[in-house]
């Protein structure tokens, strides 16, 4: 009788230990999954920041071509910016947060400038030129601001 009770107790003990081990393994697996997801997100954030840094570099080159009054090169550059922005906005939309609308507005400014430079001569008047330089600079400024905020968010979330 005593022996039978002892078996019962030891069986329960083994069962409990097994359960504890299973819970522990599950907890570890959940933690590992979370870590893997976080690592994947960090890589995506990094890729998003790199892509927008590339767009900013293209925008700076575009501004230089405009300052040099090189219409053909400026048009090629601004069209590349528009295409890259559309692609990267689609891919990294969730990292843009409140900047998504700003990005759309910069994209449409680039599109408009690309169209106007593509279908007419480089402006000849000083006032028109000043307006064009102002718009170009604004595009670079906006993109620079967006990139800064993406990097800041990435740093915050990485901590």
């Amino acid at each position: 009788m005593i022996l039978h009770d002892l078996f019962d107790w030891s069986n329960s003990g083994v069962g409990l230990a097994g359960l504890a081990l299973t819970v522990g393994a599950l907890w570890q697996a959940t933690g590992a999954k979370r870590a893997a997801t976080e690592a994947k997100e960090a890589v995506y954030r990094r890729n998003a920041a790199d892509s927008f840094a590339e767009i900013l570099r293209l925008a700076e080159q575009f501004a230089t071509w405009v300052e040099c009054e090189r219409r053909a090169e400026a048009v090629v550059q601004v069209r590349e910016i528009v295409l890259r922005m559309a692609r990267d906005r689609g891919e990294y939309d969730r990292f843009l947060g409140s900047d998504a609308d700003k990005m759309k507005s910069v994209e449409s400014s680039c599109q408009r400038l690309g169209d106007s430079l593509g279908y007419s001569e480089f402006p000849a008047g000083a006032t028109e030129k000043r307006e064009l330089f102002g718009e170009t600079l604004k595009i670079v400024q906006d993109l620079s601001g967006i990139l800064g905020r993406i990097r800041a968010r990435s740093d915050q979330e990485g901590r």
Binding site: E67, C68, R70, E73, P123, G125, A126, T127, K129
Partner: protein, 128 residues
């Protein structure tokens, strides 16, 4: 020498914008695409600025003519500068901008702003 003319270009730009210098047309752009203006700064010294345009290519030159001297001192910039990597070097871009801004200011001081020319063009079209 071109450093000195760059410095003059800055001063000329300032004075032209402030309407302190009187420029006049020296040569209108004909088939050759060269447009030229001249300013008398006194005592026989003249500044001459010309711009040659062909498609996207632009050459702008500022020249100083001294009295009784057959040669001129000049400084020329183009907008097809040597490339550093892919884009033009910043220094070259800055010089081109300075000369282009000066040329635009001179042109505007002689012919009026581009809007005026646009308005006249519109009026002429109305006449038929």
């Amino acid at each position: 020498m071109s450093d000195k003319l760059d410095q003059f270009a800055r001063e000329l730009l300032e004075k032209t914008r402030a309407n302190k210098l009187e420029w006049r047309v020296y040569r209108n752009p004909g088939g050759h695409g060269r447009e030229e203006y001249l300013a008398d700064v006194g005592e026989g010294y003249f500044f001459q600025i010309w711009r040659w345009v062909s498609g996207d290519n632009r050459t702008i030159s500022l020249q100083l003519r001294a009295p009784d001297q057959p040669t001129t001192i000049d400084s020329t910039v183009t907008n097809w500068p040597p490339l550093t990597g892919y884009v033009p070097a910043q220094e070259t871009v800055s010089r081109f901008r300075l000369y282009s801004d000066l040329f635009d200011a001179v042109r505007e001081s002689v012919c009026g702003p581009e809007e005026t020319l646009g308005k006249v063009e519109e009026l002429l079209r109305k006449i038929g």
